[in-house]
Symmetry: C4
Subunit: 122 residues, 4 copies
């Protein structure tokens, strides 16, 4: 089978500015999770910062045989993610999943993209 | 030798908009597969979504000692890939291959690119 | 647990030109390090070039349960990183950490981004 | 230690168009190789295509404790790399090295970038 239960992403930064219209073109970072299993996956996400204690866990779930692309911009509980601030993230899942990170950055009037697979542990 | 028979990509999103002329600059995502073997590789691709059952398998082949860069935009059987919709993909090959994913995004009038190696399993 | 004590990045290039205002939009490359451990991590970074001896070590630290995103542009001791010059980097840490590399490139008037996890060793 | 002797990159495409002035902003793809060893590394690169036989080996070398960022645009022997054409590449080194791939794409008047570590074998 495929996937891991522990993943890390060292980069994190949601630009506070955007150009373009609508939520699709708003500057954002996304945590893409694929759950190819036959059971729902329960995920705990912890965010790390430069000069304050980690925040979390954010509790997320991905149903069996589904993908969910979570925007960091929309995380709220236990706290929203500050804009224009460096962060990093660590994800624990009760089932093996696959995790990829993206940023869409529209601070200047032509969007930029970047992506990488997260780093697997466990 | 090199390569794996099982690969996953958690990110997937074909923008419904494009700027620029011609198919080269149309917004698209691509599944790049390298088959360095002396035999043809048979591939089954399954697409996962947020709120519906997986679709597939899409049956693809890569001849011996060739690369093929498949556009997700052009997949048709068993179903075309919806635009402006989150998806993810899982690839199984009968021979070890190497898989990389790219997006060219031309929604705004200056294209953006992103790429990553897919995540290997097996 | 998660992370490695040895990481390499083969790409390195700080563009000497920028458009846009302020340090956020200045062309730069960043070494993102996540230290999920309960102890501070001590890091030695060595830079490699095309036609001169390696430079380093640069001594960096990342406190326990923190992330730091170091700009290569701001490294000074033992020497600043030259602009418009190819380089590569090798990182050694006394504790397992996670390392990711990014470039923001604003030479032309719409920024471009790229990122990848560094390659782990050890 | 760190590095591998066999690496693959499934994506390859040199855009035939560019905007901006000078070689720095010409559309190109680059093979970044870091050789952290105390001996020079000898490399053989083979290019794969969609509908023709592989081309190679291209013979490259990276001196001890150096990095070289080879532009695919400048490869000539045994043959130049065609523009606007899908390709892939396989690299063999006599010593462990680290390999990363980038594209700078300036077909539209604001450059785009993408990068990923190559996939290791061996």
């Amino acid at each position: 089978m495929i996937g891991k239960t522990l993943w890390a992403i060292a980069e994190g930064y949601i630009p506070g500015q955007s150009t373009g219209e609508g939520p699709a073109l708003e500057s954002h970072e996304t945590l893409c999770v694929l759950n190819p299993n036959e059971r729902d996956a329960s995920i705990e996400l912890t965010l790390y910062f430069t000069d304050r204690e980690p925040v979390g866990p954010y509790r997320l779930s991905v149903p069996a045989r589904r993908t969910r692309h979570f925007r960091f911009n929309e995380l709220k509980d236990p706290a929203p993610v500050p804009r224009d601030t460096d962060y990093a993230s660590l994800l624990r899942s009760d089932l093996p999943v696959i995790v990829q990170h993206t940023r869409l950055d529209s601070r200047q009037p032509a969007l930029a993209l970047m992506t990488t697979m997260a780093f697997p542990g466990g």
